[in-house]
Subunit: 291 residues, 2 copies
Amino acid sequence: MTITGLHEQNSADVVVDSFRDTPDERLKTVLSSLVEHLHAFVKDVEPTHLEWEQAIAFLTAVGHMCDDTRQEFVLLSDVLGVSMLVDAINNRRSETATDTTVLGPFHMVSSPARELGANISLDAVGEPCVFAGQVRSVDGTPLAGARVDVWQANGAGFYDVQQPDLQPERNLRGLFVADHDGRFWLRTVVPRFYPIPDDGPVGKLLAATKRHPNRPAHIHVIAEADGHAPVTTHVFVEDSPYLDSDTVFGVKESLIRPVVLVDDPRRADQYEVANPFQLIEFDVILDPVAS
Amino acid sequence: MTITGLHEQNSADVVVDSFRDTPDERLKTVLSSLVEHLHAFVKDVEPTHLEWEQAIAFLTAVGHMCDDTRQEFVLLSDVLGVSMLVDAINNRRSETATDTTVLGPFHMVSSPARELGANISLDAVGEPCVFAGQVRSVDGTPLAGARVDVWQANGAGFYDVQQPDLQPERNLRGLFVADHDGRFWLRTVVPRFYPIPDDGPVGKLLAATKRHPNRPAHIHVIAEADGHAPVTTHVFVEDSPYLDSDTVFGVKESLIRPVVLVDDPRRADQYEVANPFQLIEFDVILDPVAS
């Protein structure tokens, strides 16, 4: 019998070979790649036994922090930029289409259907503003009847699900249907930046690396239209703190919009607000998909 | 303000840059390397969102399996060959010195000091045999008074700590002091192969890749002598099943020894056993360390 043995030189090859009988080809591919990159990492940093034990202890603490309402491994993926990378890989699109960003953990409840112009701020915590835009195809065609799902934190930086005792159910959530011209508009408040949960091992990691836990102020948007690839994205509020250091790396420059003070009685009437009023405008451009 | 944004092309660089203020240089180095290899892995396999969720769920299940007596992340490290790689990196030694292998999870209790020749098989489960050898320096000098720590599974494939109700405490464990000629000898039983715990997510991974969970039969040895680098290793039993497919990749050809039937009344007397008797011989060669 020949025993190959695992040495520094052949370690990844030996382990990859152990997967040779894996029935699922995709699983075999993923595990083989994982082993190659993981062993390359270990050879790169040459951990001591103590460091290896610390790594095991960290992963164990991350696992123990996970329960029905807390997913610490997703947070770890977020702060290491992996969630955004997976998002980028799965959302390659034309240069003119609206950029995507991560879904985030707060889409856990569905948005209620609301009429165009509705006020989704049920707790009135924050500065009132209008959020409006147009959904178009990349060639400029307005996409009548596009579905626009919107959710956000209030002016104190909390989502409804984080404050079930303080915020009305489904506060700051709405599912809208764009008009014949692809336009949508609604009343809301300017969201505030907020920290991701940082009382667990991922928070300790951020502290040890002198990173803050904050995400800049944003409104989440999912836009869908027939014959087009849907987009999951955020609109980021210009002048929000942390735009250049989002702890989950979600910001793209193309997604930043100012809060503009509009002095126009006709438009104020249209949005059913007092003049002047604050406005965030965000047009969404979707790629057509081959039918 | 310039927002760099995280894209497929720059993702690792952007995240590595976020660690720029990390006070601990070693932590910064390790995290930077981790991010580079992790992002390279993700770009290599291009996981779908569903696959990414499955990876998160797997890691979460591994974490939830860990408790005071079960370390599923260590098992994961073991079956991916990472534990052996860390062992190899931390035990570079001369070609003639005894090869190392992993400590394993069963050294959780200390071995009791025993006299040379003692019988460590307190439950008598297994075929009796003598385990003997000599501890030498690489130049051949016997290392008088070397400490030899031995522990093993019984003939049914279980360690004492796995069967607290069936095996006497400290069964099959002993800490011996070699004689003036560096020799040690003791009575024991031939160990049996055994499976690592496979009722958790790591066991599911092994099943999905058609790998068995077994380790070939072995006796654990830690040998130490003044002025020399200690060695943590196993002696593997020739003819044991799974020598060529140890699920934790611990086998090295240099560590395999036969169980030999010895017909020699004088040696039988020396070991206080009936003639003929079974014998496993294992000499340990240690590297001197600069003082």
